[in-house]
Amino acid sequence: MYNGGKIIIGLLIFIGFSTFPFLFTMGKVVPIPELKLDTPEIQKMVDKRCVEPKEYMKTEHMVMLNTWRDAVVRDGARLYKARDGRTYDMSLQNTCMKCHSNKKNFCDQCHNYVAVKPYCWDCHIAPQEGT
């Protein structure tokens, strides 16, 4: 190879970039976030159901919170009728976080895992936690 030194350095940089995640992880087992549902409020529930099915909540909770806030603040609506017919107070602090009073072990688990930093908590108050 001609100018081999420079080319090899360049290629090493290229390989380093393209395999960065592999090098960063080095084959470590990365724990999968585990959501704790063991809050007193949830324990008390006979039928341990969220507002909407888990699958829906997983992907749509941020949209739901967004639409809730507009509904509450702007439209003066207060209650949300879930698809199964039950109604809920539309409130992050007073509905969601009443059950999921373990923000660290619930919200933060996934949010940290996928590096999503919602700005909800700039205003909304997270429940007091022991830890």
Partner: protein
């Protein structure tokens, strides 16, 4: 024809993945096997291509000079467009690779009122190319949040900057917008400008459609047909830690997006996209214009016999002598 063909290929890939995942349940194939293969092809392929270029000799130092040469001390040389030192060359290459300096120079010729050639400034291609490449880079780096734990602060910062304007939930990325606009402009050039259409090959349309499809499927996945992001990250982390897992219930749109990305990676080394590596090896840009200062050696140089002076004098000696021109042999 090239347009429709390339478009059809992209659609076919999408449908194939869809059928494979929701019909035949080939999740493992699309989420594990193909990604590994694609990455391997990408890395090995690119290394092979670059090494192959590297094995070609650089017999002559032929930089294209874009400014005043280094000559007399009182004449200001253009150190970047006509570098005579390694630093200058590095500067020139940085300008070229990071800012597309040559494209910045672009002009558009036009025959004004039938008789005058005029050259207008033409920066749109430069702008679109720059926007596209930088958006692509930012999007690529941003995606690393799925591939590393914990996510390093610089990646988080990039993500914050990209979603600087708080619009919607999940937040809208600025680069998503820009890359689509840039891609559409680049596509428009190939379809709407006769000259560019004329020179375009199927292999020019295909990457555009492919990347457009990647961008659109990504946007769809983030805002419309959402998937379980945590599950997606599990797949990604499974791949990078060589412990592949596939959680259930991840929407087919993810497999489509992922497969399109794998297609791009695997296609990369076989296509014009190798310009990513090639731009660094272009001898008209990465050499200094200092031949008269530092000798360049041709590695495959071989002896060539030319006409010697002796030969020459032998032919013309008489005439030279008659004209009073000195000769070696009287």
């Amino acid at each position: 024809m090239g347009i429709l063909f390339s478009f059809a290929v992209v659609v076919a890939i999408v449908l194939l993945v869809f059928a494979g995942v929701s019909g035949a349940g080939l999740n493992y194939l699309f989420a594990v096997i193909i990604p590994y293969i694609a990455l391997l092809i990408f890395i090995v392929g690119m290394v092979y291509r670059v090494v192959n270029w590297g094995r070609s000799a650089v017999p002559f130092k032929v930089p294209t000079t874009g400014g005043q040469q280094t000559s007399l001390p009182w004449i200001a040389a253009n150190k970047l467009d006509n570098p005579s030192t390694s630093y200058g060359v590095i500067g020139r290459m940085l300008l070229e690779v990071l800012l597309f300096r040559s494209l910045f120079r672009n002009t558009k010729a036009e025959l004004h009122s039938g008789s005058r050639l005029i050259y207008g400034s033409e920066k749109l291609l430069w702008l679109a190319a720059l926007a596209f490449h930088y958006c692509f880079l930012v999007i690529l780096i941003r995606h690393l949040r799925f591939f590393v734990v914990p996510v390093p602060a610089p990646i988080e910062f990039l993500e914050f900057m990209d979603s600087f304007f708080q619009v919607g939930a999940p937040l809208v990325y600025i680069t998503n917008f820009l890359i689509i606009i840039a891609l559409l402009y680049l596509l428009y050039r190939r379809i709407g400008m006769p000259q560019i259409k004329y020179i375009s090959l199927p292999s020019d349309y295909f990457p555009l459609f492919l990347i457009l499809a990647i961008a659109i499927s990504g946007i769809l996945m983030r805002y419309f047909d959402k998937v379980d992001v945590v599950g997606v990250k599990q797949i990604a982390m499974g791949l990078v830690s060589f412990r592949p897992t596939i959680p259930d219930g991840i929407g087919v749109i993810f497999y489509i997006h992922f497969a399109l990305v794998c297609t791009l990676f695997a296609y990369f080394p076989f296509s014009k996209l190798v310009h990513m590596g090639g731009v660094f090896l272009s001898p008209t840009r990465n050499l200094a214009n200092n031949n008269r200062m530092i000798r360049h050696v041709n590695p495959w140089d071989y002896p060539i016999k030319s006409r010697s002076y002796e030969d020459y004098e032998n032919e013309f000696r008489d005439k030279m002598k008659k004209a009073g021109i000195p000769v070696e042999k009287e």
